[in-house]
Each structure stands twice: as structure tokens, then as C-alpha cells.
């Protein structure tokens, strides 16, 4: 059996190698020649050549939606940048590898990309693989920017940056948004104490709420075992006179909360985070219940600023882009901006390139799809204004 597997694997490899060799022999030589030219040219101070950007995400399996979106978003950005003449005249080249949302496979994907000659990494897409790859990238001191790894540990090393908000930052951003837009002063929270995601957001929300002059009048929990009955939590929120109920939870539970609240004739403003994204797709859900619901999401396909991106994306890949596509699109533009800022060239060693990019990342500011005037701190966290959408007539409306 083992023999059979290794034989077939070997056969598959041969085929794929032949395929590579067969389809792009001309290109390989061209790139080789270009690289030689660059080495020669670099000495004279002019900049030509190609930056190789690796992309990692789940391209197959249950989380494939995320990975494919990241792959396509990065691909679209690279094509746009190259079509516009590249970065300081240097081209970008991207290649994506599948990690099936598995930390071990993600490290394999990372090594495959390094063999390909990767100089910078966009990814991995999901948090756990991202943490695993970050350890490797730190050893190599390779510049890494994850579009959507939101766990705190993803950017623990100083060579890693991210485009999305960290989980706890969503809580801070929510409280800020509610406070600055004066949505309410009395706030209730209903959160899932059995997930790290929900309790992490809740903790930072409570901290920031105090700074924003918000009064948390009810702070109620549920667990994975009791995620269908919210009557007591809602009664307590109603009793306490909450004007807004903050729901840092996933959309399935939220759909039940909305239903039970409407049965109780309790109609505060409901406010969620990115986990709420998807509520309109719950089967048999009466979307009129979600009317007026607000959620923090970095990207809306229908908003003015992302219309061109959306239509280009649909034309190229056939799907409507989601927030992951936008995150990775922004990640590539951030790389381009940082290359421009630092004056990095493709002939630098991976480690030197990383040092140059790291410094430049904290100096750039880009107007991306997921936020205007995005800047980065040396910790790797993005600094951008949170965007909120409100559900009006069963569709997202940007606030």
C-alpha cells in the first residue's frame, strides 16, 4: 500500500514538474536573464527585477472560501500593480500554496514557497496555521503580512504584520465606535463565555467602554451548551434599560437572540463584530428581525470605494469578494507601499529585505478597501478607523 502511494506521488510530481517545465520554459529563462540583469544593474543603482510574494491559505477543504478569497485578492492586486508599471519599475510575482487550514501543512506550504524563491509572504489566512508559520518565518527573518490571522499570537514576532484587527481590538474598536457616534450610553453585553473569540472581545470592550463613558448595565454570558435560551439574559438587559446590546458572538446564536428579543418586544440597537457577518444567510431567518442591526466589518462589497474592486474581482474570478479578499488585496498594496518607502530591491537577502520592510511598514499610510489612512505600529497591529454597517432593507449599508 505504502509503495503504491509513494509511486503515485512520485508520478504526480513528475507530471507536475513536466507541466511546469513544459508550459513556461521561456518565462523561466526570461526571469533568469532578468535576475542576472538586475544583479548587474543593481551595481549601477537602477532598480529592475521581480519580488516573489508567497500566499498561503486553505484552497481546499471546509475553510476554502477564505483561502481562495485571499489568493484571488492578492492576485488581483499584483496584476493591477504590475499593469501600472510595478513598484519603482520592479514587478511583483505571486504564487499561492494550499494549507487546508492545517498548521502542519501550512509549514509545508511555507517550505515549498521558499524553494520557489519566496521573498515575502502574504498569509497564512487562518489563525492557527499563521501562528505555526510565524515561528518559521521568524527563524528565517522573512517579511510576513497576514491578511486575516486575527489571533493575538499571530503577530507576536516583529517580522509579522497584519491587515485585519486582532480579536481583542474588535472590542476596543466597537466601544470606540459606539462612544464616538453616541449610539447609546447604557449598554448590555451578551457573550459566549466558552469561546476565546467572544470572551476576548468582551473583555477589551468592557475596558474601553469605561473610557468612552459607556455604562455596562448588564454583562451576561452563555456557553456552547446553553446557546438556545437567551430569555433571562434579554430580560436582564431590558430590565436594566439597555439602549444597545453588544453581541460579540457568531451569527447563528445572534439570529436566535434577535428572534427572542422581538418576541419580548425588546428593541434596542444590536451591535456585533465580524462574527455577525453572515446573519442574513441563516436558513429560514426572517431578515426583517435584523433590520437596524449594526456590525463592525472592514469591508462591504457595495460601498462606493470598493465598487471598482468588486466589479474587477467578479470579472476575474466569478465570485463576489468578501472581507478576506479585501484584506489580502490591501496586504499586497501595503507591501508595494513599503517597498517604495524603503527602496528595497529584489537582490537583497531575505533578512535584509525584511529589516528594510519592517522599518518602512511603520512609516507608510495606505487608503485600502478595509480602511482609509491605514498605518501600522512596530508590533504589527494595524491602525485604522473601524467601519460599521447597518442592515437596511435586508442589505448592508455603510455608515
Amino acid at each position: 500500500m505504502k509503495k503504491l502511494i509513494s509511486l503515485s506521488l512520485a508520478a504526480a510530481m513528475t507530471v507536475s514538474l513536466t507541466a511546469c517545465g513544459g508550459s513556461q520554459p521561456a518565462e523561466t529563462t526570461a526571469a533568469g536573464a532578468a535576475a542576472d540583469a538586475t544583479t548587474a544593474a543593481a551595481a549601477e543603482g537602477s532598480a529592475e527585477g521581480t519580488f516573489k510574494i508567497g500566499v498561503i491559505g486553505p484552497l481546499t477543504g471546509p475553510a476554502a472560501t477564505y483561502g481562495l478569497a485571499v489568493q484571488n485578492g492578492a492576485d488581483l492586486a499584483v496584476k493591477e500593480i504590475n499593469a501600472a508599471g510595478g513598484v519603482n519599475g520592479m514587478m511583483l510575482e505571486n504564487k499561492a500554496e494550499d494549507d487546508e487550514h492545517d498548521p502542519e501543512k501550512s509549514v509545508n506550504a511555507y517550505n515549498t514557497l521558499k524553494d520557489w524563491g519566496m521573498q515575502m509572504l502574504v498569509g497564512p489566512t487562518t489563525s492557527k496555521p499563521c501562528i505555526a508559520v510565524a515561528a518559521e518565518a521568524a527563524t528565517d527573518n522573512l517579511f510576513q503580512i497576514t491578511p486575516s490571522g486575527s489571533a493575538v499570537e499571530c503577530v507576536a514576532n516583529d517580522n509579522v504584520f497584519r491587515v485585519c484587527f486582532a480579536d481583542p481590538d474588535q472590542g476596543t474598536a466597537s466601544a470606540k465606535y459606539i462612544g464616538e457616534n453616541k449610539l447609546a450610553t447604557k449598554v448590555a453585553i451578551i457573550y459566549d463565555s466558552s469561546t476565546e473569540y467572544s470572551s476576548g472581545i468582551r473583555e477589551s470592550f468592557v475596558k474601553e467602554a469605561a473610557n468612552q463613558g459607556l455604562e455596562v448595565v448588564a454583562d451576561e454570558a452563555f456557553t456552547a451548551d446553553s446557546n438556545t435560551d437567551f430569555s433571562v439574559q434579554l430580560d436582564k438587559a431590558k430590565e436594566a434599560g439597555a439602549e444597545l446590546v453588544f453581541l460579540p458572538i457568531y451569527y447563528q446564536e445572534a439570529s436566535v437572540i434577535l428572534k427572542q428579543a422581538s418576541d419580548k418586544e425588546f428593541a434596542p440597537v444590536f451591535f456585533g463584530c465580524d462574527g455577525m457577518d453572515g446573519i442574513l444567510s441563516v436558513e429560514n431567518f426572517d431578515t426583517s428581525l435584523a433590520e437596524g442591526l449594526m456590525l463592525l466589518t472592514p469591508f462591504s462589497a457595495t460601498e462606493e470605494g470598493s465598487k471598482k474592486f468588486t466589479s474587477d474581482y467578479v470579472a476575474a474570478y466569478g465570485d463576489e469578494p468578501n472581507q478576506f479578499a479585501a484584506d489580502s488585496y490591501d496586504a499586497v498594496y501595503a507591501i508595494a507601499a513599503a517597498i517604495e518607502q524603503s527602496g528595497a530591491t529584489p537582490d537583497m537577502s531575505i533578512s535584509d529585505l525584511c529589516e528594510a520592510m519592517k522599518g518602512a511598514m511603520t512609516e507608510i499610510s495606505i487608503d485600502g478597501l478595509t480602511g482609509a489612512g491605514m498605518t501600522w505600529a512596530a508590533t504589527g497591529e494595524p491602525n485604522k478607523a473601524p467601519k460599521a454597517v447597518k442592515i437596511v432593507n435586508g442589505a448592508y449599508e455603510m455608515q
Binding site: E239, E265, N284
Partner: protein
């Protein structure tokens, strides 16, 4: 006012536990086995109603009827296929089979309906009741749940005490061997018990999903476990015990959520169970069993 509202919601939740607990307690009383697949029959009932009402757009009453028929047939089939061949086997073997059936039902539902939660359209369209000038609002579902629970309880007691089949059930539960000698068909009596228990599970499914409108293949498992606790709490094998156990459990759960901690409510419920069992090992209304030597 809020206390009353918590209390009424607790009684409503407890009524659902009580209806489910009846299924456990009757089967235990007669067949001396714990039917752990009972909670999943509730889920099947929920999906039957969902398919009829939301997918096919037929009237809710028809949905409930179909669910009752489907669950009754399912209950009898499970008994016939999985439990009857094991009648003489050790109770541990039957228990493990029951757990197996439970997982089987969950996974088949997972295969057919997928793991995404569905919003259940309430099959009960009774308007909300407003008391004390609108300060206390009791939802229609709550009222219907409590009333159905009382009706079912009374009906079941009458059935057991006044009909021949009911008397046969009592006889089998007291002494299977003697009942057989008296000409009672034990297998048929046990099948009837499963049929009644499963029909009640369908009704519990309708009430449960109307109150807490989220339907997944795992919908029945937690209420099933809580109802089992309620049955033990009230004294397993006793029908009034299931009512008392269920309602007490629901009220304790809701009040501890409201006044102690929404996080600890389950822990409190199970601690109360442990304390009650330490004091009264057979539950509140359980019969004291003295083993004759």
C-alpha cells in the same frame, strides 16, 4: 415584576423538560432501561415540522401531526431493531446501544440537513398576554407550553389508571414475570410505551423549537440530558415525579441565571441534583426499593 417573568419563563422551560422527562421515566419504569436516544427523537420531530411547515409551506397543525407520526414510528422501530434483541442482555449493553442510536440519529440528521443552524418558524400563533398594565408580558408560546404540559400529564395519568393498556403497563413495571404469567403481552406493552414516549417527544420538539427557535442536529441532546436529570430528580419511574422534577429544574435554572450567574446556571442545576440524590437517593417522589433477601 421581573421576578414573576423569570419564574414564568422557568416554569415554561420546566414544562418542556417535564414532557421530555415523561419519555425517560415511562420507558425506565417499564423496560428498566435508559433510552438515551430520546433527546434525539425530539430533534427528529423538530426537523419533521420544519420540513412540513417551512420547506413545503403546509399548515403548522399538519406539521405537528406528521412529526408525531414520524416520531412514533421511529421510536417503535428503534425499540424493535436496537433494544428488543437485547432484552435479556445486561443493562450496560442496552445503555451503550442507546448511546449508539443517539449518535446514529444525530449523524444521519447531519448528513441530510447539514450542520448549519436553521431558524425555526414558531408553530404556535397565540398572541402575547399582557398583565399589570403591560409591565408583565407572557409570550403565547409560554402559555401554550404550560397548558400542554398539564393536559398531557392529566391525560397520561387517566390513561394509565383507567385503561386496560395502562393497567398492563403498571403491571409490567411492577413485575414483568408475574405480568407475563397473567397473560399480558410484555413486548407489546413495551412497544406501546415507546410509541407514547416518542409521540410526546414530537410535541416536546414542537414546543422546544417554538420557544428557542434554533434547529440543528444537536438541538435535542442538551434538553435530553436536562430532562433525564429532571426524571432522576423527581424520581425515575414516577409520572408526577417527572412533572415536579422538570418544573423545579426549569425554575432553578432560570432563577440562578437571573440572580446568581448566567455562566454558572448549569453548574448550579447539577449541584442541586447531587444534593437531592445525597439526601433522597431515589429522587423526590421515587419509591423506596427494599431488596428482599
Amino acid at each position: 415584576m421581573s421576578f414573576l417573568s423569570y419564574l414564568i419563563n422557568g416554569i415554561s422551560l420546566g414544562s418542556i423538560y417535564a414532557i421530555i422527562a415523561l419519555g425517560y421515566t415511562m420507558v425506565y419504569g417499564i423496560a428498566r432501561m435508559l433510552n438515551f436516544a430520546h433527546g434525539d427523537i425530539i430533534m427528529v420531530g423538530g426537523f419533521a415540522i420544519f420540513t412540513i411547515v417551512s420547506t413545503l409551506n403546509l399548515p403548522p397543525l399538519l406539521g405537528i401531526l406528521v412529526a408525531v407520526v414520524v416520531c412514533t414510528l421511529l421510536g417503535v422501530t428503534i425499540e424493535r431493531v436496537a433494544y428488543k434483541p437485547l432484552r435479556g442482555a445486561s443493562s450496560l449493553a442496552v445503555l451503550i446501544t442507546a448511546i449508539g442510536v443517539s449518535y446514529l440519529l444525530q449523524n444521519v440528521a447531519l448528513l441530510i440537513f447539514g450542520s448549519n443552524a436553521r431558524q425555526f418558524t414558531s408553530v404556535i400563533t397565540v398572541p402575547n398576554l399582557k398583565l399589570a398594565g403591560g409591565k408583565l408580558s407572557i409570550s403565547g408560546v409560554t402559555i401554550v407550553t404550560i397548558l400542554s404540559c398539564i393536559l398531557i400529564m392529566v391525560g397520561l395519568l387517566l390513561f394509565i389508571n383507567k385503561t386496560k393498556t395502562g393497567q398492563a403497563m403498571l403491571a409490567v413495571s411492577e413485575d414483568t414475570g408475574a405480568a407475563t404469567l397473567m397473560g399480558i403481552d410484555v413486548n407489546r406493552t413495551i412497544a406501546t410505551t415507546f410509541a407514547i414516549g416518542s409521540a410526546l417527544a414530537a410535541i416536546a420538539g414542537a414546543l422546544l423549537c417554538s420557544t428557542y427557535p434554533s434547529l440543528t442536529p444537536y438541538t435535542g441532546s442538551m434538553p435530553g440530558i436536562k430532562a433525564f436529570v429532571a426524571a432522576v430528580f423527581g424520581g425515575i419511574g414516577s409520572i408526577p415525579g417527572a412533572l415536579i422534577g422538570g418544573v423545579l429544574l426549569g425554575v432553578i435554572e432560570n432563577l440562578s441565571k437571573a440572580y446568581i450567574s448566567s455562566q454558572l446556571s448549569d453548574a448550579i442545576v447539577f449541584s442541586v441534583l447531587i444534593i437531592v440524590l445525597l439526601v433522597r437517593p431515589t429522587g423526590i417522589l421515587g419509591k423506596k426499593i427494599t431488596e428482599k433477601v
